[in-house]
């Protein structure tokens, strides 16, 4: 395999792994439900994106065609992540989950 492709794959995997780890740390460290919602839905967007790109490079250098499936995975992920985040936020607002003291503004209930 082309060494430059290998460097690129390594770099992208490291970036992806680092962002996924930061997302997990955020899930553990952030103070309340709404802020925790940001960790996994966000840092992982770039995390999964970088891992998928490295997979595309790997399989296209192996000569097995360009990985359109991986791009579709990204597309589906980008379409479904906001919906699940929205559902979680709505459920939390309905249950009147507590927010941290330094949080400004109020969730509404309708």
């Amino acid at each position: 395999m082309n060494p430059y492709a290998e460097y690129a794959i390594c770099l992208l995997l490291l970036i992806g792994g680092a962002f996924t780890l930061v997302g997990a740390i955020g899930l553990a460290r952030l103070p309340d439900f709404f802020t925790r919602l940001h960790g996994p839905t966000k840092a992982t967007t770039v995390g999964v994106g970088a891992i998928v790109i490295s997979s595309v490079i790997y399989f296209s250098t192996l000569g097995q065609g360009i990985g359109i499936e991986e791009i579709l995975i990204t597309a589906f992920l980008f379409m479904t992540a906001p919906v699940s985040a929205n559902f979680l936020a709505k459920a939390a607002m309905h249950l009147k989950v507590k927010t941290t003291e330094n949080s400004r503004g109020q969730p509404w209930d309708q």
Partner: protein, 162 residues
């Protein structure tokens, strides 16, 4: 009876057909037949959920918008990562965003964009489609967040949908 055999949403059908060809391993007779069945069946089944035919006129502006969103996702990811790892506590806030967009599909795209860009999640839309409730992870000033979203995402969407 005849409208049961039609394609109520040709663009959705075309997208579904092409997506199915990519998902199945290479284009073959079987994948084409199943693709046509899916392209016919899914729009028929979901027809009741679509509000009205989207007035999606300026589709050629979409790639530039997507490029901007992807760039913002990468930049904001680094900011959120720095915030998570720094000892400073976050300053979360609920922000009411007054919507200028009116079409439900446009509001959906804006809300999804806000949720995808790190640091903000769209939590709810008011019943009259006039307000969007946003939860920001670290906002110093509500007006600043509103202005950024207005300039970067809502203005291009307004141009696309009107």
């Amino acid at each position: 009876m005849l409208d049961r055999l039609s394609f109520p949403q040709p663009w959705l059908s075309l997208t579904l057909f092409i997506t199915w060809q990519f998902l199945s391993d290479g284009v073959s007779g079987g994948s084409v037949v199943l693709g046509i069945i899916l392209a016919w069946g899914i729009p028929q089944m979901t027809q009741g959920f679509w509000p009205d035919p989207p007035a999606f006129i300026k589709a050629w502006r979409m790639p530039a918008y997507l490029a901007r969103v992807i760039r913002d996702i990468v930049v904001a990811s680094f900011e959120v990562a720095r915030l998570i790892l720094s000892p400073r506590p976050a300053r979360p806030a609920f922000i009411c965003y007054p919507l200028e967009l009116e079409h439900p599909l446009a509001i959906t795209i804006l809300a999804s964009t806000i949720s995808l860009t790190p640091g903000t999640v769209s939590a709810d839309v008011s019943d009259d489609n006039k307000l969007l409730l946003i939860h920001a992870l670290d906002a110093e000033d509500d007006q600043e967040v509103i202005d950024t979203i207005r300039a970067r995402y809502e203005k291009p969407l307004l141009e696309m949908f009107q």
